[in-house]
Symmetry: C2
Subunit: 380 residues, 2 copies
Amino acid sequence: MKIRILKNELNESIQHVAKAISSRTTIPILTGIKLEVNFQGMILTASDTDISIQAFIPTEDDKKTIVTVERPGSVVLPAKFFVEIIKKLPSQEIEMEVKEGFQTFIRSGATDIQMVGLDPEEFPVLPSVEEDQVVSIPGDLLRNMIKQTVFSISTHETTPILTGVLWNLNDNLFKFVATDRHRLASRIAPLEDADNIRFSNIVISGKTLNELSKIIPDQNTRVDIVVADNQVLFKIDRVLFYSRILDGTYPDTSKIIPTTYKTELVLDTKKLSESIDRAYLLSREEKTNIVRLQTLEDGTIEISSSSSELGKVTEQIDVVDFKGDPLRISFNSKYMLDVLKVVESEQLHISFNGPMSPIIVKPVDESRSLYLILPYRTTN
Amino acid sequence: MKIRILKNELNESIQHVAKAISSRTTIPILTGIKLEVNFQGMILTASDTDISIQAFIPTEDDKKTIVTVERPGSVVLPAKFFVEIIKKLPSQEIEMEVKEGFQTFIRSGATDIQMVGLDPEEFPVLPSVEEDQVVSIPGDLLRNMIKQTVFSISTHETTPILTGVLWNLNDNLFKFVATDRHRLASRIAPLEDADNIRFSNIVISGKTLNELSKIIPDQNTRVDIVVADNQVLFKIDRVLFYSRILDGTYPDTSKIIPTTYKTELVLDTKKLSESIDRAYLLSREEKTNIVRLQTLEDGTIEISSSSSELGKVTEQIDVVDFKGDPLRISFNSKYMLDVLKVVESEQLHISFNGPMSPIIVKPVDESRSLYLILPYRTTN
């Protein structure tokens, strides 16, 4: 392999694929990035077996030459050092040559680097994914759906299936669900052109989705999602992102969501968020995060928390609407703040069935999103 | 105590004094901030016994009422919660009242806070400092002198005196020295109006100086420094910053600085910095940080590092000037990068007396600053 390549383009692709590098891998070849050069351009690949990311750099883009290929070939280079050094090279022009024994020579300006490369034949082959079921979704919608659900996954490896987000697609409705048994987040979005596609019980690691989010560009991009037997492939511009589907059956959560409510409030999201944040500050010192919500006789609500050592915070909030029975309920304020952080609607419905039943939060503007928080069962 | 006070002004003073709060204190009263109100305004005090910070909020500033005092008094409030909650209060207007048993009531908008206060009589009295020796220095100069020396202090508590920066004032020259026995940083600045003031062997904790730096405002401020027996007091606007002087005698470092050199280079700071940074990336993987500098026959120099596992980085740099013997020397690249980060001069002198003697770095534009790095004694 012998090429000349532009620094910025190489660096951008390296940054993408490097997200698949795990610092804890025990397989030496997976601490590297595989480079493959042919006369179309360069393919970079990295993998930690759960995630694999591949980026393609064409020889030419918009009539600008990006890679000049003198001799095709391939090599695996140690990721950590390679990622850091390329972005710090002095010149836009980089020359790379792989010689005998995968010794790799990189030259840029007056900087010469010699790198110990590894045999690309040892690098695992990426799974082949049948492209039967392809769904196309706007990148910012996908990123939003991830953000609005992934915070509710479980972080305990004892229930691996709950460390993922459940995906279902049916009747053109794409649904994400995440729960850690104390709370649940669910978001549904209608998709165009997905008439004949349906899948269920596809569970994808929350950690993987967070990495995927970082790769989706800010500007208008579409992401193609290919669902296969045990893999999902995301196609984003010139990046392919492969993720394993988690094994196991996701619990049925449909039955825990009530259909009728005894108390229903409509509140201003920002006001509620700021009030709970202040109450949280005190509850945090008690290490419980418990905050109490209470309806008052004058039609307002009170948010409060107390600490035996520090004192008490009491907040009064006006409600936009209030229907049903008076209520006094305690809950984990951190869980509520997590929800309020990702809700984009200016107002929200909060609904209750007494102090021992789940709290349901629905943004007024996104009737298809739903957040559930189990209350804290207290005696007073 | 019963007052009304503006949120932003209270918050700003709290942020200043909170820098003296240690999270590891074992003295309960020192986890608090003392508030004292009289008809001139409010005094806030916090202390961790090494540092004490006091801030004053006048009742009026620029004809704007900041504090309205209904009843003077004082209380100590738990710092961590107080610091967080005040900045998050909903309204600019804050009412505070201390009732029986130091129970403190804070009201802002529809937020009510009740805080368990402590007896201000238990709070330690600040040291009284004789104002015989007062030095006035521009705030940005002081901040710069701290930044350009403090990185060289020792972090080992086994030699407590080296965890501080040595201050000397003589003949209107203010000198800072820091060393950890592997490297040394020294900076001298001329002061105006310090004719009759001299002091020596004043050693102030590096940690303290970092906290002090954060309090000095960016705009043109003068800092008055009062040196007393075992305390230094810094006066910055309405903030008083007290620091203990470290016990012990600082080692005499004057003899280790050579007066003649065998090899003298003048280099471009940015070019050298970028080259060493790339060589450092590789040397870091070897956990040694060792980089080699070598003069070449064509009058340039070469910076290099190598790792048995990863490979080799070789950099060639043009020199602005080169006098004396050829040289090959190894050193800790992290120490050199620390120096290059704080040097503001575009070019610098680097001088040597062979591979086993200290390396001396002097910025071309600041002839009074000097950095010393001991070489790494290697056999090849």
